[in-house]
Symmetry: D3
Amino acid sequence: MSQSVFVADLTWVEYNARVSSGKTIVFLPVGALEQHGPHMAMNPDVLIPTAISARVAERVDGLVVPAISYGYKSQQKSGGGNHMPGTTSLDGHTLTLTVRDILKELARHGVRRIVMMNGHFENSMFLVEGVDLAIRELRWDGITDFNVVLLSYWNFVLNDTIKAIYSDDFPGWDFEHGGVLETSLMLELHPQLVQMEKVADHPPPQFPPYDFFPIKPEWTPPSGTLSSAKAASAEKGRLLLQVCVDGIAEAVSRAF
Amino acid sequence: MSQSVFVADLTWVEYNARVSSGKTIVFLPVGALEQHGPHMAMNPDVLIPTAISARVAERVDGLVVPAISYGYKSQQKSGGGNHMPGTTSLDGHTLTLTVRDILKELARHGVRRIVMMNGHFENSMFLVEGVDLAIRELRWDGITDFNVVLLSYWNFVLNDTIKAIYSDDFPGWDFEHGGVLETSLMLELHPQLVQMEKVADHPPPQFPPYDFFPIKPEWTPPSGTLSSAKAASAEKGRLLLQVCVDGIAEAVSRAF
Amino acid sequence: MSQSVFVADLTWVEYNARVSSGKTIVFLPVGALEQHGPHMAMNPDVLIPTAISARVAERVDGLVVPAISYGYKSQQKSGGGNHMPGTTSLDGHTLTLTVRDILKELARHGVRRIVMMNGHFENSMFLVEGVDLAIRELRWDGITDFNVVLLSYWNFVLNDTIKAIYSDDFPGWDFEHGGVLETSLMLELHPQLVQMEKVADHPPPQFPPYDFFPIKPEWTPPSGTLSSAKAASAEKGRLLLQVCVDGIAEAVSRAF
Amino acid sequence: MSQSVFVADLTWVEYNARVSSGKTIVFLPVGALEQHGPHMAMNPDVLIPTAISARVAERVDGLVVPAISYGYKSQQKSGGGNHMPGTTSLDGHTLTLTVRDILKELARHGVRRIVMMNGHFENSMFLVEGVDLAIRELRWDGITDFNVVLLSYWNFVLNDTIKAIYSDDFPGWDFEHGGVLETSLMLELHPQLVQMEKVADHPPPQFPPYDFFPIKPEWTPPSGTLSSAKAASAEKGRLLLQVCVDGIAEAVSRAF
Amino acid sequence: MSQSVFVADLTWVEYNARVSSGKTIVFLPVGALEQHGPHMAMNPDVLIPTAISARVAERVDGLVVPAISYGYKSQQKSGGGNHMPGTTSLDGHTLTLTVRDILKELARHGVRRIVMMNGHFENSMFLVEGVDLAIRELRWDGITDFNVVLLSYWNFVLNDTIKAIYSDDFPGWDFEHGGVLETSLMLELHPQLVQMEKVADHPPPQFPPYDFFPIKPEWTPPSGTLSSAKAASAEKGRLLLQVCVDGIAEAVSRAF
Amino acid sequence: MSQSVFVADLTWVEYNARVSSGKTIVFLPVGALEQHGPHMAMNPDVLIPTAISARVAERVDGLVVPAISYGYKSQQKSGGGNHMPGTTSLDGHTLTLTVRDILKELARHGVRRIVMMNGHFENSMFLVEGVDLAIRELRWDGITDFNVVLLSYWNFVLNDTIKAIYSDDFPGWDFEHGGVLETSLMLELHPQLVQMEKVADHPPPQFPPYDFFPIKPEWTPPSGTLSSAKAASAEKGRLLLQVCVDGIAEAVSRAF
């Protein structure tokens, strides 16, 4: 029998044996195809939550279904903006329906415990709505014990870790687009997808306390990143990965 | 001619004279019907941004169209949760379509400068999507000079003001649901809708760094508020109002 | 405890105490932002049904939730047409979804008796559809005792009243756009929003027995009104208000 | 070459020769499958407007495309209600999208003059919306000379004819469901689909001036008809047909 | 009592007597308005499945509801392409919703056995989806014994018949657009809608094993047909009709 | 600069340099998460078209964007049915919107040549519709030179290859679900995801020439496969891969 935590690696017979009781926790990573600066490949938002999901799944004897690879439109103040080349996004309703459909199918298989692991800031509310629609329709089917933990992995980075990694230069999660956090994690997980010599070392942009549409391209640094990844390292990535995996594993175990 | 900033108070002839040039800034408040604790009426999220919109409109010679009165589903960690009595919410797609439709109509009238003033945290991303859809369809109609400032008023409360109001007890905006900020603003704007003696004086709840669905009612304090409004006062409301109106008026003037 | 019939003025605790039994009748006014001629502000379609709802609610110990402020597209032969400045309308599907969502939320609160009070002719069928979708989905949730009275207030103006008000010049409800009925009611309810000296005193336009799309602007009188409001008066408004409130209160009491 | 006015009887070559100039008027009948009492088959709402369309098309050298066979939900006060057996209806949005799609395709063929001939009262507003969506999207495609006449055939029955047919017993169009008008027309057009001996001869029901949902089946006469067809005759049908065909032919000729 | 198998010819009382037990099989033909070459009228895809439905219904004591007259977009390699004049198609979602709505209404009447008889290749998957949505929603209404047979009539033409009709020149069903099969059936059923002297006698086009969008008009033969109908005859039509009716009648009897 | 053909491995700067001219061909694999029998992992429908896309992209100097990982509902006669554990599918409309959104984003980047490589039979028509909607909306944006090749890789398996692989036992593509074709390709591409000893060696099921809904589970072999993969081998996989890559590379080169 396959030992993989990835559902895509299993036969249906193996999968069925694992999920039909409803006790196995199933992780659904949700990411994006989005530019992350001149130094990094374009889907850390998929790769990082997939990697964390796999590690947590190993600890809690869970499984990971394939990530939702495309996410909601990049916002200028958190992702550089949806005008950037390479960034490839869905309408909000499309993403919501995708989440709804996948969750309902997992419920049909017998899964009752889901962890949606978000890797792309802008997805959040459309995931919430997808979960809400799924739970509503499952209720119409008489299924009322279907539970979802929805999280963004960076919310498990504790203040101590932030201090250890950023000293006093933490720009805030909004500015952590292609910055130290994501770059360090990618250096640890997929070093071949990072080219540190191409990091754009600029200060975070100054954004006003509102959004403007259509966006003004000049607000986004030419690099597309919102803070400098110069201080990123695989070592920091290791630390971040550990704190996220530990925190999420514990949270998930307690939640279910 | 009517001196009101409220479009609903104008005749179409008056309105037309004001907006056909495209220069007049039009404010669209977006709120919610949502419980705000045992001490406060249920639509501060409409009343506060409407009041701020009116004051800013007076300063910048703008106009205010009727608020969108119903908003997106209350989230447990920012609004107590959508299971509470009285909270009356729309599906995300419904809200998005409403925004899209209204903006396109304003564009048809000749309006080219919009300020969407959000009063309900959970609305944000669905407003973003509504703006995006409107701009897309207007582009298909050959209209490419339609601009929207989208803001949540509390983002204009400066750090100094936070310190002045909360000393060191600022719970974070997420917890400001029925708390000092909203209650103070309501005491200043609509004192008859606040019953200070009914304030539930409890510490902010401890939420885990994830969401759980279906929500667990026991996570929400029985009051429905997420922080205590005991320290609220009309004076603080006056200060908050002033800093918001000042900040937004300046921002809007600079944006357009 | 607040004595207001307006739900937006209540705390959730007060609201909950009123509606959880399912017996309280809840009124949902539905209007529009629509030009009503050079002599009248642009939302009588919200203000009039809201006022009637409040008066009837007082009689039947009911409550009034915030109006749906934006309605379906103005039709040329009943509202002057959707090309007019100021008229700000929703797509039909958007309005239908809004109604569906609000009704379902009220049902979640325990409400079982709704009166939808329409103030805008063009809304009617989209309200019907919204009610139908809500009842369908509530049925899927096992709720089968949710009842809705859907009415347009002018249908309660009796023939005697029509005769008293119009003598023999009643143009038909279709032509009552910005005419004697609405203007009189506004003179009674919100006199500051009417400028009688600006009434366009023209005969009703001659419309063919079909609609033409895209509409021909020249079919609509330049004023935007479809009949003259010259004969309007607060006194007539008082009479109209009384007959509507009396009739609707009686009808509602009998219906539930 | 086929002499038929029905597009479904033509080859595409014949059709193309007729419509590519944009001058030919194309008729689109819209009906319903709806019970019409114990004495009449269930689609007069398709058959009557199709027959009128064909006759008018002959006069104005136009064409008739296949009818939309299913319509919006029957309303209790105009069609007996959607709870009746046999009545088979679409959601409003489905009907609207169907109209939108068909009109856009006709425009692609080069058609610029459409007459939508409605035979089912409840369809009206969803047809309006379908036309509006089609015109909007055609505009996005640069097509701005696409015109639609939307009509319900009974609006061409003049007062003289009403008097001739009903003497003083005209119940109003709302009650003309399975009554003298429709039955007479069917006796003239499709006598084999009428069984006069089964006419339910009852007075029109007394409806209150509001709708109630879910509908109360007892409001609808057991027959499903809203007025008695006893006085129907082929001769009256002939007269009605003539006045409709004459009136519509003249209106259409003037409109385009 | 009407002996017609067509529901549109029945009164609701007759229909109700037939379907309320749930045992009667109801046929829903689904077609298209689509060019079928210079020699044939444009709705064989409606007429043929309607005719087969009627004949099978007679055998199995079933009924036939009105056809869905407009179908999904013609594909170049199976229908010549949706750029052709006359071809009038729906968006996929529109067709799916239409199917869903009609099936749910039939279920409301008590029907439990449906045969959807498809006459237009491109419809298939959108019909599948419409059936799936209907069954899902019916399940939410507690109806779990609603069954649908979905078929395309040409799948009942046996290999022997193909050999008898085409000898060795069977081009494959994809190319049977306006070819021998459809033309022969129309010659048998509606000879007045075929003009054999206008048949375009060309070999089937050579299509690559992929689709290209936007389609390349030059791939489609100028005639719009994909194979020659020259060998068509009423006699072959009679044979095809018989094999389809026999096969479907047997299949349906066994299925239910 | 990264030499990868996978867009997800590139920085946005690298990607932009490749696509901004519009000449680079971009491949979009579309698959499914679907059971493929007791001997094979659950996403060959993603892995195979991704692998073929990559190989063809190398030949034509193209790029590959991340696959759409979830597809349309498995049909009983081509995929075993959507009742099987593990099979995780989207509603048709969800898939269509996903395709529409991704294609429009690629067009925004400047891409003008797309190859959609389908690996899941049931997706086809919803992909067609997604492409059609994208092209329609791009046209509204003034983009008319955006071209899509849509293909299913198995259509490039030539008759000679079929004979070489199956001798005379080719069951037809419909039955090739978890059979020799897919299993051989997986043995060549991802041998660790195949367990040949678990192949269910049964003859293809006998399906009637219609679909039945809700599906009858007993029609599907207990294994979930529709033909035996016993004769699969990596060598056959190599041959299949080669013929597909060769054929598609040539077709794509000719198409653009």
